[in-house]
């Protein structure tokens, strides 16, 4: 690594999804191995495990199977996070399981991703699970989707097979809101087009997977238009030096804030001006998502956690009745007219579920209107009424101010994730 080049590195978060045996763990192992992110002791450990299990090659998939149950069953049962870096970018991989009972993990892993890698077995083409993974990527608003057509070695690196699958996927995606789609033919096992360009597929002129990961434009993935600052914590030093200091700490959820900006505070509606944007290392001329800063205002008004500072001429929706797509996470079904706790930005409210409008068959994308029981791993559109107004944007506009989690008040478990539609 060149000296100080780390000061220009960007961060890309991506998730991987695939069906059982699509070679997802192998692909991640390959990315880590070919980018030289695997250490000798890790490699030795999996080499030994592979031998013990009587496998011929070193099984790179073993690198990502963290928990004992997974090693025993050979499947991934929880989101695992992996890290590697190239001189251009640092990568965070959310490795999510593919089988049906773990949809919730896929939703979890996708929620913070800039990019999703969806693996498709070249022998099987577009199958039910591919549809499901693509739909979830679209639902969670992941800006970039890369389809890796894997196991090309098992279809003789056939151009025809690749283009047939690409066509099918394009047709399917036309029904979804996916902004940027890419296709790469690979063999994770042999490393074709993962990090190094494959000699086996001269007909493919596109980028390798690694090239895409390093170069895809992520600068527009955050909303830099609508100014949203959920107040997380009020900083009051009450020291001699900073006697009257009252700062509002938080992470900017959208837009660009500058000192002198006219703002209003929700829910009170009071107007003020930004006096300073402070950090430990000094005050800033401007701040944008996802920076953590402390804002002071020119007027002394009562503001607490859960309030939101926004621009006067660009305000979020303020409403107690809203519709959201929810993914249900819990073995206990959603209770119609049931009451739940909600966390939305830095706000805690309660809600009642007024209506289940429909469920979605995530394999066909059809609406299910005759069965409205929302069970674990179901995705449904629901209407809720909250105890006090939320300040929100549509999820498709802002992933931070448009998302919420639903909590069972008796067990404190997170039972659902919601993406606000209106």
């Amino acid at each position: 690594m060149e000296k100080n080049s780390y000061l220009d590195m960007e961060l890309l978060r991506f998730s991987t999804a695939g069906s059982v045996d699509d070679g997802k763990s192998t692909l991640i192992g390959r990315l880590l191995y070919d980018s030289k992110s695997i250490f000798a002791d890790q490699y030795d450990a999996i080499e030994e495990s592979s031998k013990r299990k009587g496998e011929e090659k070193v099984n790179l998939a073993l690198l990502t199977d963290g928990l004992r149950a997974e090693r025993e069953q050979g499947i991934t049962i929880d989101v695992a996070y992996r890290y590697f870096a190239t001189p251009k970018r640092k990568f965070i991989i959310a490795d999510t399981p593919g089988h049906i009972q773990y949809t919730r993990n896929m939703v979890t892993g996708s929620s913070t991703s800039n990019l999703s890698i969806i693996l498709v077995d070249a022998r099987n083409g577009l199958v039910e699970q591919t549809c499901r993974h693509t739909f979830i990527a679209s639902l969670l608003g992941i800006p970039h989707v890369v389809f890796c057509i894997n196991k090309m070695d098992l279809v003789d690196y056939s151009e025809e097979v690749f283009y047939k699958i690409k066509k099918d996927l394009e047709a399917f995606c036309s029904k979804l809101e996916v902004k940027d789609i890419q296709f790469v033919p690979i063999s994770a096992l042999n490393g074709d087009n993962v990090v190094n360009k494959s000699d086996n597929m001269p007909w493919y002129q596109g980028s390798t997977l690694m090239y895409l990961l390093e170069n895809i434009h992520i600068g527009s993935d955050y909303n830099h238009i609508d100014c949203r600052f959920p107040v997380q914590y009020v900083v009051r030093p009450q020291s001699d030096e900073h006697h009257d200091y009252r700062g509002y700490a938080g992470r900017i959820a959208g837009g660009v804030f500058k000192p002198g900006d006219d703002v209003i505070v929700l829910p009170s509606g009071f107007s003020s001006k930004i006096k300073t944007i402070d950090t430990y290392t000094g005050s800033l001329d401007e701040a944008f998502a996802p920076m953590s800063v402390t804002i002071t205002l020119t007027d002394d008004i009562d503001i607490s956690r859960g309030d939101m500072i926004v621009r006067e001429n660009n305000q979020p929706h303020v409403n107690q009745d809203l519709d959201a797509m929810v993914c249900w996470f819990n073995p206990r079904n959603l209770v119609l007219n049931g009451k739940y706790a909600i966390k939305h930005t830095s706000n805690d409210v309660r809600c009642v579920v007024k209506e289940v409008k429909y469920k979605i068959n995530i394999n066909t994308l059809h609406r299910i209107e005759d069965d409205k029981t929302v069970k674990m791993n179901d995705i449904a559109r629901i209407s809720i009424r909250t105890t006090k107004p939320l300040y929100y944007d549509k999820y498709s506009r802002n992933r931070t101010t448009g998302s919420l989690i639903i909590i069972d008040e008796a067990t404190n478990e997170t039972v659902g994730a919601g993406m606000i539609i209106e």
Partner: protein, 301 residues
């Protein structure tokens, strides 16, 4: 045209500060576990940034095995004083004296496992409802599945198969009485990120991270420091080597590496070229393939 992009270190810092503020807002009596190692140092450093100009609104807690490198304790006391924070010490020696744990015997005796008991007592006695730690997901495969907000039951146990889903940056810290949380603000950092951050922020670190001459002996291929706490076998002669430590834990289970990296810049070069993970020098992880997972389930950090 200005681009509104953060570097990876800025984004990681922003995320960690967000998590620390979330702890202060969601818990009544949190504490920051401070070992004097580089990871807890940067967490404490970012806590200072998160609440500035106010002081860090929670105490630092050190679980002291009594088997420390003297440099670490010296550093700890100086660091805490500069920070203006309160320090709470949980003593493993005291747990042994009180008969709560029994000391391991023999050549490979270590107080590492006993720390769990002392940690849980310290949490209970001080009624801490959240313990912030510097664990990172890249350290070990069981840690790769850890949440930022990790729930612990009334026995301090971790249930890896029944973790709360964690979405976006919304953290659910709700709990019943007697339960607590472990929170890991630098979950997404790697060893390299930590060193780059230390360099960039000019953060002071204990001297044993930097190369120095030391009396050591070799056990199972690991370079161990000569201390009063470890019994050396006759076949393990003392020799002088130029070494440094990649992690700082209990002196009985933390190995050194041969190195002439005597500045943070050189450490970064060394880490970039390293062929083993930093926990490769930790004998506590080598006891079995699931050693960390088993300890974590019981409440280890």
């Amino acid at each position: 045209m200005k681009s509104y992009n953060l570097t990876h270190l800025q984004e990681l810092e922003s995320e960690a500060i967000y998590v620390l503020r979330e702890v202060a807002a969601q818990f009544e009596n949190p504490a920051l576990l401070f070992s004097g190692g580089k990871d807890s140092i940067i967490v404490a450093h970012m806590a200072r940034k998160a609440f500035w100009p106010a002081r860090i609104p929670f105490p630092l807690v050190h679980v002291d095995t009594g088997h420390n490198f003297p440099e670490t304790i010296e550093f700890r006391d100086k660091f805490v004083k500069e920070l203006g924070a309160t320090l709470v010490v949980g003593s493993v020696q005291k747990s042994i004296d009180e008969g709560k744990v029994v000391e391991e015997k023999g050549y490979n005796a270590s107080r590492n496992a006993l720390q769990t008991v002392t940690l849980l007592y310290t949490i209970e006695n001080n009624k801490f409802d959240c313990a912030i730690g510097g664990a990172r997901r890249d350290e070990e495969k069981a840690r790769a599945k850890e949440r930022f907000f990790s729930h612990r039951d009334e026995f301090g146990q971790w249930d890896p198969k029944n973790q709360r889903p964690e979405l976006w940056n919304i953290f659910n810290g709700r709990k019943h009485i007697g339960e607590h949380f472990r929170v890991f603000p630098i979950s997404n950092w790697t060893e390299m990120d930590v060193w780059q951050y230390i360099l960039h922020e000019k953060i002071e670190i204990p001297s044993i991270y930097l190369s120095h001459e030391r009396d050591v002996f070799i056990r199972d291929g690991v370079i161990m420091s000569v201390t009063d706490f470890i019994q050396q076998r006759d076949t393990e002669p003392t020799k002088k080597m130029i070494v440094r430590f990649r992690t700082i834990g209990d002196a009985t289970c933390t190995g050194a590496v041969e190195s002439d990296a005597n500045t943070v810049e050189k450490i970064i070069e060394e880490v970039a070229a390293a062929r083993t993970t930093e926990r490769g020098t930790r004998s506590d992880d080598k006891r079995s393939e699931a050693a960390m997972e088993d300890r974590k389930k019981q409440g280890y950090f």
